[in-house]
Symmetry: C2
Subunit: 414 residues, 2 copies
């Protein structure tokens, strides 16, 4: 189907099996939100649950809620809802802490399982916090027990040498949207005795992930992007069942104890993935994430993928067809099989263009030094939105609206 | 003032300078809540802020809120509100992660500053997660770089030997409510070159704490107990300014980077306490905690302390005067100067008694194996509540209501 006319887009929206899902979100009026890759929109279910957990459960039932409202089970119940979206059988996925903290746990566990090797291999273009956590662990343990090595993003295979203990990769690149072949890379790494930690921040909930089928070792991911769990929502982690008996992590807080309410002085890890919990669960934010995940209950990831690619396809095609947008250089792979749910365009004035877009109701984001990033969350976007967003972008370029000095002001977060 | 008659209590409520504060909370009707030491009540300001951050900031302003609503500053703005309550000058306190995770950061930093010693001294009766975090670090680093030693709670002084690197103590004991002399112990420890980490979980917001005046090195504390920040609220940590230049921690995530949005591949810690941040801040729960802290804005900790001790005094005196309650053995120090804001009573049927109390509208809590714990949060309790709670307890003991088999059922969390 071509994306030529407005009629085509209206028809695509009519035929969209996920069209009804937009009603499950509180999307701000008069805005087109292309930043679900940074922060997903507010699901109505999450809004209701936020009121319930704060006003009823905390406000009225107070401490009794740990049992009455199963607060204590939230890391597991939310985890299993995510498990469905990442191809993980039950008992391997929990929600807790941040991605950064969870990477530290998994890295530590993997290195302890592998004490004759100490190299952690990652990609040049990984999201910095992933690399920073390796650097922190290396400073703590010493370079003889943990050291970071970086390979070019497009040449991981040849860096999989026999001295590598752990491979830490982002499934989808946060800048370019490039997608790794999880199956192939996991297989190549494991053939050399390397354990793999996948960061699913930009794939969980929008790109089909098959952790079990790929025989993945470990994974982490984000609750606030495509899972729409709210700003700073808890992250998740996955430990393959076959590693659970030997994998141990150093952030051994009371929630990971086999009997936390016995108040023993000696730590004994809970069996299974529960041993990867640390402190008291963040009940309010976990409840909100848990409710946000209910939007996915009757949705197939294949459907999400199909629509997300179609939305991106319309955007790409329209940008390519507009002479006004010729200066925007596509950084993302054109091949759908190699791309996540976002597109990145390079432009020397990307920052000001992004600000102008936002001022005109199209919420995109900017990544230093010169990247305009647009994300295609399939649950709350319509095809008509995409058409309009390219129209706005064209107008901004045609009239050079981005030259307005107001759009050059940088805040702390962009 | 004696606590003999109901009239006395009515008069105490009338003279209570904090009496008006009860209106700042949504306290459940028909209940007396003596468990603010586990989970504080819902402040009205927190309820309003929860709606605002979810429905307006997330729902409508979405990603723009990072600047528009200062989300990025929350770890610092909430931290400074706590700083006031713990005697810390600005620039030393931040809100982030859980107590467990924060202990790991501070322990690691302290041991790195002290690399010729490796013993972490703590108390037998410390809250288990504190000990578990030392054990986790010891497993990771090896016993030659970190090893846990336990001293009797009432004999810390003689255990302060020259091989100890770090002393990790809970200011108020979670079971007994016993309070350490922070000034004296910090001084004794530092005289032997020992760095001290104070866990303020059961003192921040209710017991006067003077971290700066005591020349404390490090501290952590809890957002959901006396600070009323909501279930699983983020914790806080304090790093004395004089240590900030050399203290470094291994959970070096992007929020602790000096320029997180430059997306550099090499970690460079932010100056000051900001280098102790790790992942993306938990915006919703931090906002709720931040609003809860506003209840303290016009309150003096000395007032909180005075009322809390007076409430506990009434409880203690009435229990002591009732022959029906003779079997309840007070575990907490009688001397006010040695006690936090809770009382602990030992009874072989403490579990069933606690359940019976809850069923009759008095929310207390139980700590294995035989401890009934009652907490005296001065912001939302009235003296009349205390009188009634002892009446209910007396009736339960007189009529042996706790023998009801329903009260013997243990849930996961009690």
């Amino acid at each position: 189907m071509t994306a030529g006319s407005e009629d085509t887009l209206v028809q695509m929206d009519r035929q969209d099996p996920l069209a009804a899902k937009t009603a499950a979100f509180d999307v701000p009026a008069e805005q087109i939100y292309l930043d679900g890759n940074s922060l997903g929109c507010l699901p109505v279910s999450a809004k209701q649950r936020a009121r319930e957990v704060v006003e009823q459960q905390w406000g009225q039932d107070l401490i009794k809620s740990w049992n009455l409202h199963q607060w204590i089970d939230l890391p597991f119940s939310a985890g299993e809802k995510i498990a469905r979206l990442i191809g993980a059988a039950p008992g391997q996925t929990i929600c807790c802490d941040s991605i950064s903290v969870n990477i530290f746990k998994l890295l530590s566990a993997a290195l302890m399982m592998h004490n004759e090797r100490h190299v952690v291999l990652s990609q040049q273009g990984n999201f910095p916090t992933d690399l920073y956590m390796v650097q922190g662990l290396a400073r703590q343990l010493g370079e003889d027990r943990c050291s970071l090595r970086l390979a070019a993003d497009d040449d991981i295979a040849s860096a999989l040498t026999d001295d590598v203990a752990v491979l830490l990769l982002s499934h989808v690149n946060f800048r370019s949207g490039a997608l790794y072949d999880m199956q192939a890379i996991t297989e190549q790494a494991q053939a050399r005795g390397i354990l793999v930690i996948w960061d699913l921040a930009h794939s969980a909930g929008v790109v089909p992930v098959q952790l079990d089928a790929c025989r993945a070792d470990f994974a982490v991911g984000c609750g606030y992007k495509y899972l729409n769990g709210g700003p700073g929502a808890p992250a998740f982690l996955y430990v393959a069942r076959r590693h659970q008996a030997q994998a141990a992590q150093p952030l051994s807080g009371w929630m990971g104890h086999m009997a936390p309410f016995d108040f023993d002085n000696a730590y004994q890890a809970a069996p299974g993935v529960a041993g990867f919990l640390t402190g008291t669960p963040p009940v309010i934010s976990l409840s909100i994430l848990d409710a946000a995940l209910d939007v996915f209950a009757d949705v197939d990831v294949a459907q999400l993928r199909q629509k997300s690619l179609a939305l991106a396809g319309v955007f790409m095609q329209r940008v390519a067809q507009s002479p006004l947008l010729a200066e925007l250089q596509l950084l993302s792979p054109v091949d759908e099989a190699q791309r996540g749910a976002q597109l990145a365009y390079r432009h020397p004035h990307a920052f000001a263009i992004c600000q102008a877009l936002i001022a005109h109701g199209v919420i995109a984001d900017f990544r230093a030094p010169d990247i305009l990033r647009v994300g295609f969350s399939p649950l709350f976007l319509r095809f008509a939105d995409i058409g309009r967003s390219v129209d706005v972008l064209s107008r901004i370029m045609r009239d050079e609206l981005w030259r307005d000095p107001a759009y050059a002001v940088r805040h702390k977060v962009t």
